[in-house]
């Protein structure tokens, strides 16, 4: 959440450079941010104060091995190819990006770039790089590395990509970067298609992690097994399906890390993970299931962190299906969802009811006036169903078969029955599910979650609401609504404009308009709640829990407790 926009003499938008996180924290206190709703999160995530369930700050020690449990690893760490969340946490740690995000405050901060400026027309972003950044092999970072890294994913047919690389940088930057060039050894210029003030934030995405040009050219597609970066920990070894072992990089530009080793250990089974945390065979994880969190909270040795909730849980409605073609039916379903019960039972209380539709309380653009878009009114829902003549209509809901999904699906089934529909629930494994989700021919309703890797409302909500994004075209099929073409264009317009101002109030206004319009005219997305990834530790501290809640790793300060 930023304050006044700074502009330089030429009127260019400028973000203050060379600000360390500590410095910013101090400023935030001075600026009175503690008074905002973000206060508790700041307290929870600051390095000085105690974390989690009110335990006193534990003494920390230098050295040791921290074992972090992840969902899985494929043994390939490459920002150009998403494999598993665990692998990406490792990439996030081994490499640094031009910018980084503070998940407690939503601020975008300098990382490899010390500062950046937009051109007057907003179509060029120039970034200054730090001059003291070393790669893990001792060489210095230059703009050539940045250019090579970006072109690797942005230019079609780059030979240094592994087969099947999905090149997520393109989507992460909204396919808006037209050219990347090195102005001088420490200055990079990005040329954009349309103005996008969110771009600096997008550059903190994992797919935008900066690699070493020499390594790209030397090993190219195979760099996933020997990844060299500029992060606090360097890759020591990896074993697919097993673990990723990182060792401290003492010349890290942010200061030598406290641990000797950081091991990302694959723990596929939920109960084994819980047992591992209880017995301190695992020091930390962000993959704990919601139901286990309750028993872990009761354990004295274990800390369950209170973290921002940015993960959107929603029911996607496929408007191309006859049963859902009527807007009234979709609105009725939205009114029928018993969100408080789902938060309490499926998420064990680790979720917030949506008071601002798709933007939770911690987000920029949060507007509690949108709370009515997620209200619970069974009689109104029934009336709408009857009016639409859909009483007794059959409707199917697909969901995954792990973690909180089955319980949530069960509650939804009851909710749908209560308003007069005849629901069938299908629980699928993750692989089958994603296939059916992005296929308008294969589902009616779908229950899913969406995690935003960058704490910006466009990252969280843009793709969900836009008619051209994958959700709109392949998930809900709203792009096919011919009679709503104007409305969709209007929504897309709001979303675009919201990326072209940095005034938080203006952005909030635009997102509010977009969301309200969407909910009232389209309603292909019923927001269920905002939840978090459960972040737990035993014997470790300073884990950057707020970022882990969104599966981002900020472990430069992590240490073991004495």
């Amino acid at each position: 959440m930023s304050t006044q926009i700074q502009r330089d003499e030429s009127g260019n938008i400028q973000v203050p450079g060379t600000m360390t996180r500590r410095g910013f924290m101090v400023n935030a206190g001075i600026l009175g941010l503690g008074a905002m709703a973000l206060g508790p999160f700041l307290t929870a995530c600051s390095r000085e104060a105690a974390t989690g369930t009110g335990a006193t700050a534990a003494a920390l020690r230098k050295g040791g091995t921290l074992t972090f449990a992840i969902d899985g690893t494929n043994g390939s760490l490459d920002p150009a190819a998403y494999t598993t969340l665990g692998d990406w946490l490792a990439v996030d740690t081994i490499c640094s990006g031009l910018t980084t995000a503070d998940f407690a405050t939503n601020e975008i901060q300098p990382s490899l770039a010390s500062g950046w400026t937009f051109s007057a027309d907003g179509l060029q972003l120039t970034l200054q790089l730090r001059e003291d950044v070393k790669f893990h092999d001792g060489t210095l970072l230059t703009s050539a590395d940045v250019v090579r890294t970006f072109n690797r994913q942005l230019v079609d047919g780059d030979a240094s990509l592994p087969t099947g690389a999905s090149r997520p940088l393109r989507g992460a930057t909204a396919r808006n970067i037209k050219a990347v060039e090195a102005v001088d050894p420490h200055t990079v210029r990005l040329t954009l298609g349309v103005p996008d003030l969110v771009l600096p934030g997008r550059l903190s995405h994992i797919s935008a992690r900066i690699l070493q040009a020499a390594q790209i050219d030397a090993v190219g597609a195979q760099l996933g097994t020997t990844l060299i970066g500029t992060g606090p920990y360097k890759l020591a070894s990896l074993a697919a399906q097993q673990s990723i072992t990182l060792e401290a990089f003492p010349d890290y530009f942010g200061g030598a890390p406290a641990l000797d080793r950081l091991v990302f250990q694959q723990v596929a089974d939920a109960s084994t993970l819980t047992a591992g945390l209880m017995s301190a065979q695992v020091n930390a994880s962000s993959f704990v299931s919601h139901s286990s969190a309750v028993s872990l909270k009761a354990n004295k040795a274990v800390t369950v962190y209170d973290v921002p909730r940015r993960v959107n849980v929603f029911v996607m409605m496929n408007v191309t299906r006859p049963v859902l073609a009527d807007l009234r039916v979709r609105k009725a379903i939205n009114l029928a969802i018993d969100r408080s019960q789902i938060c309490a039972n499926a998420f064990a209380g680790f979720a917030d009811e949506p008071k601002g539709y798709a933007l939770g309380a911690v987000s920029v653009g949060y507007d509690p006036s949108l709370a009515d878009l997620s209200s619970y009114d069974v009689s109104a829902a029934k009336a709408l169903i009857a009016e639409a003549g859909a009483t007794g209509a059959k409707v199917s809901l697909i969901a995954q078969n792990n973690n909180w999904y089955p319980r949530a699906a069960q509650i939804l089934e009851e909710n749908l029955k209560a308003i007069g529909l005849v629901p069938t629930i299908e629980l699928l494994d993750a692989g089958s599910f994603s296939g059916r989700f992005f296929d308008v021919g294969a589902h009616d309703l779908a229950l899913w979650e969406r995690n935003g890797y960058v704490p910006d409302p466009d990252e969280q909500v843009g793709n969900l609401l836009s008619s051209t994004g994958s959700y709109g075209s392949k998930g809900s099929g709203v792009a096919t609504l011919k009679d709503k073409a104007d409305v969709l264009a209007q929504i897309d317009g709001y979303l675009r404009s919201a990326c072209q101002t940095s005034d938080d109030a203006a952005r909030r206004d635009l997102y509010t308009k977009a969301q309200r319009l969407y909910a009232e005219q389209i309603m292909a997305l019923a927001m269920v709640c905002q939840t978090q990834n459960i972040v737990v530790s035993n014997g470790a501290s300073r884990l950057g829990e707020a970022s882990l809640a969104s599966q981002r790793a900020q472990l430069a300060q992590a240490a073991l407790t004495a």
Partner: protein
Amino acid sequence: MVTARLPGTVADAHSTATAAPDPAPAPVWRPDDEPSGWRSWAGRVVHHPVVLRLAQVPVVAFVVTIIVFLVAHLLPGDPVTQLTANVNGITPEEVAQLTSQLGLDAGLADQLRSYLVGLLHGQMGISFYSGASVSSMLADALPATVELAVAAVLLAGLLGIVTGIVAARTQGTWVDHLIRGGATIGFSVPWFVVALVAILVFGVWLGWLPILGRLPTSLTYEPTTGFVLVDAVLQGRPDLIGPWLEHLALPALTLAVTSAGFITRVTRTAFLDAQAQQWVRTARMKGLTESAISVKHVLRNASVPILTIVGLMFGGLLGGAVVTEAVFSYPGVGSLLVEAVTRRDYFVLQGSALVIALMFTGVNALVDLSVLAVDPRLRRG
């Protein structure tokens, strides 16, 4: 020779002219029976039970490959969708390009053919997710599964056979009933219950044994052969052995406990059957002690059904290893397979399934061969 007989017996009618044919049809060994010449040698080799038995392995492997290929490709969902699920705004052209890059746009028959051809050249494909070659992934994962399976079989076999013999020797007593009851409970209790209890008791409450992985995260291990025991010797790293055994203990024990019960019952039955044989009476007549009889006469004869069952159970053990590896995060072929199925990583799926099938048929071939070695009645010629 016999001349005088009791007068008037029927037997007199047929005097001993020539040796009458034997009531038993068993082949009579005569010293000049050995066939000669290379032709008969070649014939004996081809029809040799060992050769015949070993030839079954590649045939089974081939059939399994085809079946797994078909099943994998017929599963709903595909890897391209999964790979691109998290990419915002991917275009259909890019999806098509990715599909073609991965070779998934060809017809099923073409894909199968190129896969088989690749297999013949020793290429098993690559993982769509990591780009690593399947053969290298399997080379890393296979030793772990082999270690787990061997440990589980040894433990289950030891536990099962010893308790089975004790139960047979104490037949009818409370010891026998106790052992049989324990055995039934052992193989009736669902495997994951045993696993969870083991994790809770030994991992969390007592804290005696680790519950994750193959080696502690604080140890560096550079595999030479991939087998920890072998590498510890080759690399001069005795410090690996202790932690390795600790990590192997819980998964192997959980697997063993659930399988041992079955081996106990089979051993007991086989033992009792063998004990009831007449040659045991002959051995007893010779004045051998009961233990000597058990070991020298009963066990070898009882070993045939026991070996056969253990071989069959090995398949179940491998299947159990898949789940075991998932629960204990033990990095073997089983967890590779599970991940590959979830992700529709076809080549990894097919490769892991093939390797598991080969292991199973290989072990059963070994069992059949050892049965041949143990029981001379099954040998030809």
